[in-house]
Amino acid sequence: MSITVKDVQHVARLARLQLSPEEEATFTEQMNAILQYAEKLNELDTENVKPTTHVLQVSNVMREDVVKESLTQEEALLNAPDDEDGQFKVPAVLE
């Protein structure tokens, strides 16, 4: 199975990336090489193998639901590229 430029364009849209035609060509070639290498995994029969998502046996870590201090509004907006009236500002979404 090989990846086409069209596949790369589709994945770029999913990943919210705008690629130049040169990048599309390079990534098509490189992703094909990497995924071809990944085909190696199919040499292994993993039918009855359980997947390891995490090496530690931890699950559902909870903490007490208590009120505590958080960042102030000013702090939360400190690194924002644009803000107005205490909110993150983005381009208009609705007409």
Binding site: D7, Q18, Q30, A33, A38, T46, T52, L56, N79, P81
Partner: protein, 485 residues
């Protein structure tokens, strides 16, 4: 005479007896950096005034007779993907070129509690993606042993700064070998702890199931000091392990009589440079001389580790890096086209090529129709790799081999070929997938370049890893060699 020729306990003694003040040591570090860093580019941000302020506070503490922390007065550098309050943290990316964190990572708080001095933030591959430090969007780092060669990645700045004697120790992060491989290339000691031993709170995530923070130091003893200070459960990290922290310094007994060492044939076979293999076999003779026994074993799934790793880590990266959208922090590129265009433009101009490549690969591997074939398959192979280690550790105390198949390569020599670059990590990646601890220590030189010995241990058995590494170091001189700068 440079203060940096002294070992950590010796400097401690000088500080505690007031033979030298913390402020003097801090100035020494800053002046060495001013003199040398233009050659190696290890630092991205210097914390000059902050470090001087910390030093004054510590000098006052000493004068008042108050108790002092484990790392009292020691100048430290921190990889730039670990957040530091009010000190620029960039991940070596244009995306975060002006990012000022609002809090300290847990490891940074712990270093402060241990009375270390934060000298600055260290260069790296962008978002920790890379094996050569050439993916920094600010400047590639040079290897102090040969300025035309890479320092390794992604903690290349962290390893180069220690090798160049700019600071006593640094923190790096290891996802597929990013502490051990640069430590190997730069001739210093790099420890990747067991996953979960050191808090990841405040580490900018690359691949969350693999990332782990650890120390890079000049000696194994120094490594034990830093690990002692940073290890431990953290309620702010849901993947933090609730385990007792042993006395790592107490484990450095020098006694390894009867120790059982496994040497995987896959780690010393084809693809490993002859000089590297020779250094590792010589190291085994040293350990044998100290009463250890070794046998060749097999880790049969080693050859599948790189493929599994790149699918898993890229998938997790594509998910983690989705938060960079140009709205709440970081670079924004708005050409007036609307919200979706703002996301696309900000991400496309903010991320470098390696980061984009991994986001693309991960997004593809997680996309509809491919999840089972790539992501799930890789998770299952991860199980097989972990089982390989579990099996070997039923009979042996440690697994030993080279850290990397070769010594440091020339800058620019592999940048066009990502797959070849990825294969440099073939000996460190299996350990990361299994989540177990491993250290890289200097064990020789090949054509003037350092060779690293990797010692791998059982889950949470850092004590044995450090004990073996220390015993080797006590009977060799490699860690005392210094690059000419």
């Amino acid at each position: 005479m440079s203060l940096f020729q002294y070992r950590l306990p010796e400097v401690h003694n000088m500080l505690h007896t007031k033979a030298v003040s913390v402020s003097e040591l801090t100035e020494e570090a800053l002046s060495i950096i001013a003199e040398r860093d233009s050659k190696i580019h290890a630092f991205l941000t210097l914390n000059e005034e902050g470090a001087r302020q910390q030093a004054r506070v510590l000098d006052d503490k000493l004068a008042s007779g108050a108790s002092r922390g484990l790392l009292f007065g020691l100048p430290a550098g921190i990889k730039d993907n670990i957040v530091t309050k009010n000190l620029r943290t960039t991940c070596a990316s244009q995306f975060l070129a002006n990012f000022q964190p609002l809090y300290d990572a847990t490891v940074v708080s712990k270093l402060r509690q241990a009375d270390a001095v934060t000298i600055g933030k260290l260069n790296m591959d962008e978002f920790a993606m890379g094996g050569s430090n050439e993916n920094s969007s600010f400047s590639a780092v040079s290897n102090p042993w040969d300025l035309e060669r890479v320092p390794g990645g992604s903690s290349g700045g962290s390893a180069a700064a220690v090798a160049a004697g700019e600071v006593y120790f640094t923190l790096g992060s290891d996802t597929g070998g990013s502490i051990r491989q640069p430590a190997s290339y730069c001739g210093v000691v790099g420890l990747k702890p067991t996953y979960g031993l050191v808090s990841r709170y405040g580490l900018v995530a690359f691949a969350s199931s693999l990332d782990q923070i650890g120390p890079i130091t000049r000696t194994v003893e120094d490594s034990a000091y830093v690990l002692q200070a940073i290890a431990g459960y953290d309620a702010q990290d849901s993947t933090s392990a609730k385990v007792d922290i042993p006395d790592y310094l107490g484990s450095l007994t020098g006694d390894i009589a009867g120790l059982r060492i496994a040497v995987p044939k896959e780690y010393i076979g084809e693809g490993v440079d002859a000089a590297v293999r020779e250094s590792v076999l010589s190291a085994l003779k040293v350990l044998e001389g100290l009463g250890a026994v070794w046998e060749e074993v097999s880790l049969p799934h080693t050859e599948y580790a790189v493929a599994a790793y790149y699918l898993l880590s890229s998938s997790e990266a594509s998910s983690n890096l989705a938060r960079f959208d140009g709205v709440r922090y970081g670079q924004r590129v708005d050409d007036g086209g609307g919200l979706l265009e703002l996301y696309h433009n900000s991400r496309s101009q903010g991320f470098g090529p390696e980061v984009k490549r991994r986001i693309m690969l991960g997004t593809y591997a997680l996309s509809s129709g491919y999840y089972d074939a790539y992501y799930l398959k890789a998770q299952k192979v991860r199980t097989l790799i972990k089982q390989d280690f579990d099996e070997v550790f039923t009979k042996y105390d440690v697994v030993l081999g080279p850290t990397a198949p070769t010594t440091a390569f020339k800058l620019g020599s592999q940048t066009e070929d990502p797959l070849t670059m990825y294969l440099n990590d073939i000996l460190t990646i299996p350990v990361s997938l299994a989540g177990i601890p491993a250290i890289s220590i200097p064990c020789g030189f090949a054509e003037g370049l350092p060779v690293g010995l990797q010692i791998i241990g059982k889950e949470f058995d850092e004590s044995t890893v450090l004990r073996v590494a220390h015993a080797f170091e006590q009977h060799t001189e490699y860690h005392k060699a210094r690059p000419q700068l």
